[in-house]
Amino acid sequence: MEMRAERLIPSVTEKSRTDVLSDLKKRKRVVLVNKAMIGCLIIALVVWSWIGTNFNLSFLYTGFTNITKFIFTDLLPPDFRVIGRYINPALQTLYMSYVGMVISVILSIVLGFMAAKNTSFHPVLALISRSIITFIRAVPSIIIGMLLVVTLGLGPLAGTIALGIGGVGILGKAFADLLEGIDKGQVEAIRATGANWFQVMGQGVWPQFKPGFVAWSLYKMDLNIREAAVLGIIGAGGIGYTLQGNINLFQYKQASVGILMIFILILIVEFTTAKVREKIL
């Protein structure tokens, strides 16, 4: 919006006043028509969904009163005697998300490197890599987890690999975009000194790539801990499995310990990644 005002200023001094006013009105009308069209589209979409899901305003009231009642009567107070049963799954969730992150970083570097137009060996290879990344990004990792549970059996192994593969959707795209955005001049300058491929990568590409690489990888860790917490629901190991078990047996006071553990785990991981980011960058 500020940009627009700046661009308008020179034209004001050039033209006569009445001209500017009518011009401004015309421009405002164009923007308004466009906004109205998109607005109508959104309203139509909401009305259609409202009818389609049989939504009723009273659901909001009953929904939120019910959940508050449920939280305060059934979930609280947490039964902390079962905390021992949750510690191992919580740690397992942590290991899963960490190994998952490392796997997706490795896969993403390879795929991202091939997907970026300026580092790829061939344009066709770039297109194929981009398509793989897009496909993985559009498939939720819980679905990948489901398929892997079938292949690898129940347990954290399936969840870990699901996180590793699922992460390629985000990290692969981020790395490819980062590589495409690096300054060519620096790379060319190093190549001009007669550096070999490894020296060009190490001295020209890596320093520019590193900040984004670290930030995105740590962000993936933040995401992984959330995903790992729910992967257990489909039997892929971690804290979600124990939580699901408690909920299925109506042991809500014990389940609330699990929810609290997930909450604490997420806070600890986010705090740690923030600290590491600070130290490395």
Binding site: F55, V150, I247
Partner: protein, 266 residues
């Protein structure tokens, strides 16, 4: 002095690296990644892949209905999430809130709601309100509030006071200040985050069925329970298509908006 500090920084980096590698190996050991199952997995994967191709849709009409339900759940979840976030953001933004303690209270609520994953909210809402699309809508709405409330409040807090003062100086009424000064400056952040949240919500809506909250995720679970992997693959492709099309449409609308704005300003 500088030398000492630099070598210290260097040491910290090496410690972090060493810890990272150690923790990686420890985690590998704990997960049991070097397992016999990995070796057996190849034959099972082969079997699975053979079962998955060609992907089929057994009951295309049912699956289309489920996909539409997922889309509708995502729309409604985002819609209510936005409405509640706007209402609460007024109390959460420090410069609009009636009292600073209310601001902290609302922000704390948002932080808690955000930290609990959407699928767990769905699990809780299923217990509280029963099966069907409603728990999905409420779970997505409440999870959206956690994120949107934070960004909306920050957007309101970061309003440029110069713009408002300048408008007041021209003699604008309070209504005019809000319509011409405050709304335009927060609208950009507002729209882009809401659209981003819709993309996230659509992804969640497709998997909500896994916990029993309806939509296309349920079809997926049903197919995988009877081990009909060709159907699993078929439904996965439908989900893939849904998310991709939604992304393309929102990107197109955003681009169109930008182009119209740009043209109007030239």
């Amino acid at each position: 002095m500088k030398q000492v500090k630099r070598s210290k920084d260097h040491l910290t980096k090496w410690i972090i690296r060493a810890l990272a590698i150690f923790f990686f190996l420890f985690s590998l050991y704990k997960i049991g990644i070097i397992d016999q199952r990995i070796l057996q997995a190849f034959s099972r994967a082969e079997h699975l892949v053979k079962g998955m191709f060609p992907p089929t849709l057994d009951e295309p009409i049912d699956i289309a209905g489920a996909a539409i339900e997922s889309l509708q759940v995502a729309v409604m979840g985002t819609f209510w999430g936005i409405i509640f976030s706007i209402a609460l953001a007024i109390f959460a933004a420090k410069n609009l809130s009636p009292h600073i303690s209310i601001s902290y209270l609302v922000k704390g609520f948002a932080a808690f709601v955000r930290a609990v994953p959407a699928l767990i909210w769905a699990l809780l809402f299923i217990i509280a309100v029963g099966l069907g699309p409603t728990p999905g809508i409420l779970a997505l709405a409440i999870n959206s509030i956690g994120m949107l409330l934070k960004v909306y409040a920050e957007a309101i807090e970061e309003i440029d006071h110069g713009v408002i003062d300048a408008m007041r100086a021209t003699g604008a009424t309070k209504f005019q200040v809000i319509m011409q000064g405050i709304l335009p400056s927060i609208m950009v952040i507002f729209v882009s985050w809401s659209v981003f949240r819709f993309d996230i919500n659509l992804r969640y809506a497709t998997v909500l069925g896994v916990v029993g909250a309806g939509g296309i995720g349920w079809e997926l679970i049903r197919a995988s329970r009877v081990m009909a992997y060709d159907q699993v693959m078929g439904v996965t492709l439908v989900i893939f298509g849904m998310i991709l099309i939604a992304e393309l449409i929102t990107r197109y609308l955003q681009k169109r908006m930008d182009i119209v704005n740009l043209r109007a300003s030239q």
